[in-house]
């Protein structure tokens, strides 16, 4: 049925490093025509870096990329396009103020008139063949995410691409949109193209993929070939992948000591959240009817694929995003309070955006410990800074939290991600905390720092402080939480007590299946 399959791109032992992180660690892959090749992995597994190297945005530090058998250095996006590699990035790459047609025409010789008529004809032909419907005259900003993706796929086709990369294309789509995208991928493969499909969702991987490669912490940990895909049932494949992704319990360096969990407690809840809602906004699905409570010393895990409202929930709790509904902490109503008063009431928020909002990169490490207490004694007296008190406390915190910095005066932006996270942890765990919201506390950290952060969370809970732990890492949630709530499209899809078997239920909820 399919045209004979050929190797188009071969990645040979490709390694890419960023300061403090090995994003890809000698990864080898083969991309074949007529095949949907799924790259599966958690956040931080190195999928996006791999895509950047294939599309010319980044270049590998080590290893080779072979295109049609000859080693090629893909120097720029233009070069990638010329090689027939088209990419649909995770974040839309359409210019919002231009129309669809104008976006599709970008990249032609600059002195020419755009060939609108030719475009119209070709776009219509391709759309018809692939069963897409694209309104060429609509402004890109007015399109839904699914429509934007269709436009970007169409753009790749218009440029005669042989390889189409879809980076986390389904993460913001409706189930219907996902099904349509899946069908489209199948049709492209049937026409002999190579499709690289990046996703977290197991079901999609199994439904749409011919071949599945599993990445973990920058390394390739497994590949399921088409023969095996065909010979086994979907459920079997899923359990294989879960094993590859989330690890067998033995021999995994990331294995976490499980926290001794509490039984169901009759204590009064520390925080009660009722009917919290936020209208959907650009790039997030909003929040709908969020209700939960956390008891003192309890850890409530929040699971879910990235971008399903977890960050908005955290910001609504912290007071950074205005939201409807009631948030009562130890009897005090927080709704309507600004950020500072909520902090004084005992609520702490450890952001996932460490450099963007958690710290001021150009400020010294020492000062970053106190950004949320500016003006408060004993570090300030009548508005004046007391460098002695600040230096002393900073030195204590640097020691206590093992922040590896050349000096307390070093700008925090020059530290590694793990050390920046230690600065944030030190700040949020300081005296007076009653409830701490951790947003992806170990995201992007290396193993030692990850384990350190998890250890701190355990200690915090043992001291009777309530913890809300937002994470995309299932293993982490299973290890630390008493209960796990799964978020999907701005709602809590279900809350599961963390006992044996929770892994399967949460995993199924996370990957879009019923628990």
């Amino acid at each position: 049925m399919n045209p004979p399959s050929q190797d188009i791109i071969i990645l040979d032992q490709v390694t890419k490093r960023f300061p403090g992180v090995v994003a890809n660690d000698s990864v080898s892959l083969t991309i074949r025509s007529g095949e949907v090749h799924v790259l599966l992995g958690e956040n931080g597994a190195g999928k996006s870096t791999l895509i950047d190297m294939l599309s010319g945005v980044q270049q590998p530090d080590e290893g080779r990329i072979l295109v049609d058998g000859s080693p090629t250095r893909i120097q720029s996006p233009r070069h990638a396009l010329a090689l027939g590699i088209g990419t649909v990035f995770q974040h839309s790459m359409l210019v919002p103020s231009l129309t669809v047609a104008e976006n599709l025409l970008l990249g032609g010789p600059w002195w020419q008139r755009p060939k609108s008529a030719e475009l119209k004809g070709r776009a219509a032909a391709i759309s018809a063949q692939l069963g897409m419907s694209v309104d060429l005259d609509a402004r890109a900003a007015s399109l839904s995410l699914g429509e934007q993706q269709q436009v970007e796929i169409l753009r790749a086709q218009l440029r005669n691409s042989r390889v189409l990369i879809l980076d986390e294309s389904t993460s913001m789509l409706t189930p219907k949109g996902i099904a349509e995208l899946g069908a489209l991928m199948r049709r492209l493969a049937e026409r002999g193209q190579a499709v690289i499909f990046i996703t977290h969702k197991l079901k999609e991987a199994v439904d749409f993929g011919d071949r599945i490669t599993v990445l973990k912490l920058g390394r390739k940990v497994g590949e399921i070939a088409p023969e095996k895909m065909r010979s086994r049932g979907n459920d079997e494949i899923i359990s294989d992948i879960v094993e590859l992704m989330f690890g067998k319990r033995s021999g995994d360096p990331e294995t976490v000591q499980y926290r001794t969990r509490r039984g169901s407690s009759a204590e009064l809840p520390l925080i009660e959240v009722q009917g919290v809602e936020i209208a959907p906004g650009p790039g997030h699905p909003g929040l709908f009817g969020i209700n939960f409570s956390v008891a003192p010393g309890e850890v409530l895990g929040i699971a879910g694929i990235d971008g399903n409202g977890q960050k908005q929930l955290a910001e609504a709790l912290a007071g950074q995003l205005p939201a409807n509904g009631s948030i009562r902490l130890a009897g005090t109503e927080l709704a309507g309070m600004p950020v500072g008063r909520r902090r004084m009431a005992g609520l702490r928020y450890l952001t996932d955006d460490r450099l963007g909002e958690g710290t001021v990169g150009s400020f010294p490490v020492a000062m970053n410990f106190f950004l949320k207490e500016v003006g408060a004694p004993p570090y300030w007296l009548r508005g004046f800074e007391r460098p002695g008190a600040i230096a002393q406390r900073a030195a204590e915190l640097i020691k206590q939290f093992d922040v590896r910095t050349p000096h307390a005066a070093t700008p925090v932006g020059r530290l590694s991600g793990g050390n920046i996270q230690k600065v944030l942890l030190a700040r949020e765990l300081a005296d007076g905390a009653k409830l701490i919201v951790f947003n992806k506390p170990t995201y992007g950290l290396d193993l030692a720092n990850t384990l350190n952060a998890r250890e701190l969370i355990k200690e915090v809970a043992a001291r009777g402080i309530g913890v809300i732990l937002i994470s995309t890492d299932l293993e982490e949630l299973l290890a630390l939480s008493d209960r796990i709530a799964v978020m999907d499209a701005g709602r809590i899809a279900g809350t599961i007590a963390n006992y044996d078997g929770a892994r399967t239920s949460v995993g199924r909820l996370m990957t879009g299946l019923a628990a």
Binding site: D52, S55, V57, Q58, S76, P77, R78, L81, A82, T87, F89, M93, L94, V95, P96, S97, L98, E102, N103, L105, L106, G107, G108, P109, W110, W111, Q112, R113, P114, R155
Partner: protein, 311 residues
């Protein structure tokens, strides 16, 4: 007050308005292109005064106004090269460098002028006007609008050329994308730095042309600081025009009328400080800003250098 409403007066007023508007129009159109591509070009005042000086040199030594316009445009472009190198290629702060360039050009042209012309103060001969047949016979409007130097008509034509470029060419799409979402342009295979370079160079040429007009046609002479903020007005016009050249024209004419009115009232012997009228266009603009707010009207990436792969 009757003197205000004679045909000759109104005709002279409009004629003066157009003369005053042309440099602002050229600067505004130029700045608009930079801003569209994401570069806030504060150095335009410097490009303009360099154009005025270079244009005067060309016209004076070459005895040709057209040569003057050419040298003026290239002088502006030469200054734009510095801006491109420092801000577009190296990504230095556009405001700091823009102010530095403006001050350097103002001082340098004043210095050079001093050594060359401070004793002689040579003047150019009055420029030839191109009279457009038939249209120039219309009473009042004819002599005001259709008896100008050819460059004036060309400047107005530039409005339509720019409109055409922005709406109907590949270049227009590239510029818009470079200012709005440079990463999208990059992955579409167009070099963002090259696009912005082209835009800033064009700005330099247009601003230089505007400066040359100011010296060669408007004044007939180069004096230090002759632009007197015309480049900054160009920035204001470009920011208010929301990317549409026709609004630069309208804004330039509004400012031109006010500038012309000040001269006209002095001629008419009306005892009111010219400053009152000079304030009018700014008051109008600030009022508009107060009413509408302008959160969404500037290119998203304005003022930000672009580097591939840095997210």
């Amino acid at each position: 007050m009757n003197a205000l409403f004679t045909q000759v007066f109104i005709s002279a007023l409009l004629f003066g308005a157009i003369t005053a508007a042309v440099p602002l129009l050229l600067a505004g159109l130029g700045e608009q292109m930079s801003e569209k591509s994401g570069v806030l070009n504060i150095g335009i005042e410097g490009m303009m005064i360099s154009g005025a000086y270079g244009g005067f040199l060309g016209a004076y030594y070459g005895s040709s106004l057209w040569l003057g316009f050419l040298t003026g445009g290239f002088a502006g472009m030469a200054v734009a090269c510095v801006m491109v190198l420092l801000c577009v290629r190296l990504g230095l702060n556009q405001i700091v460098i823009g102010i530095g360039i403006t001050l350097a050009c103002e001082g340098l042209t004043a210095l050079l002028h001093h050594f060359q012309f401070s004793r002689t103060y040579p003047r150019l001969e009055a420029a030839d006007v191109t009279v457009i047949p038939l249209l120039s016979d219309i009473p009042v409007l004819g002599p005001a609008l259709f008896k100008h130097h050819l460059i004036v008509y060309l400047a107005v034509a530039m409005v339509f050329v720019m409109s055409y470029i922005y709406r109907h060419t590949q270049l227009g799409l590239n510029l818009q994308a470079a200012g709005d979402k440079p990463a999208a342009l990059d992955v579409a295979g167009v070099d963002v730095v090259r696009t912005r370079t082209l835009a800033v160079m064009t700005t330099g040429f247009m601003a230089g042309l505007g400066g040359a007009y100011l010296a060669n046609i408007g004044a007939g002479i180069f004096v230090p600081y002759i632009t007197n903020g015309a480049g900054f007005l160009g920035i204001v016009l470009a920011m208010l025009a929301r990317g549409r050249p026709i609004w630069v024209l309208i804004g330039a004419l509004l400012f031109g009328v006010c500038l012309s009115l000040t001269t006209a009232m002095q001629v008419a012997g009306i005892n009111m400080p010219t400053d009152v009228i000079q304030m009018l266009p700014f008051l109008a603009v600030m009022t508009m800003l107060m009413i509408f707010g302008r959160r969404a009207s500037l290119p998203a990436a304005l003022g930000l250098p672009y580097q591939r792969g840095v997210r």
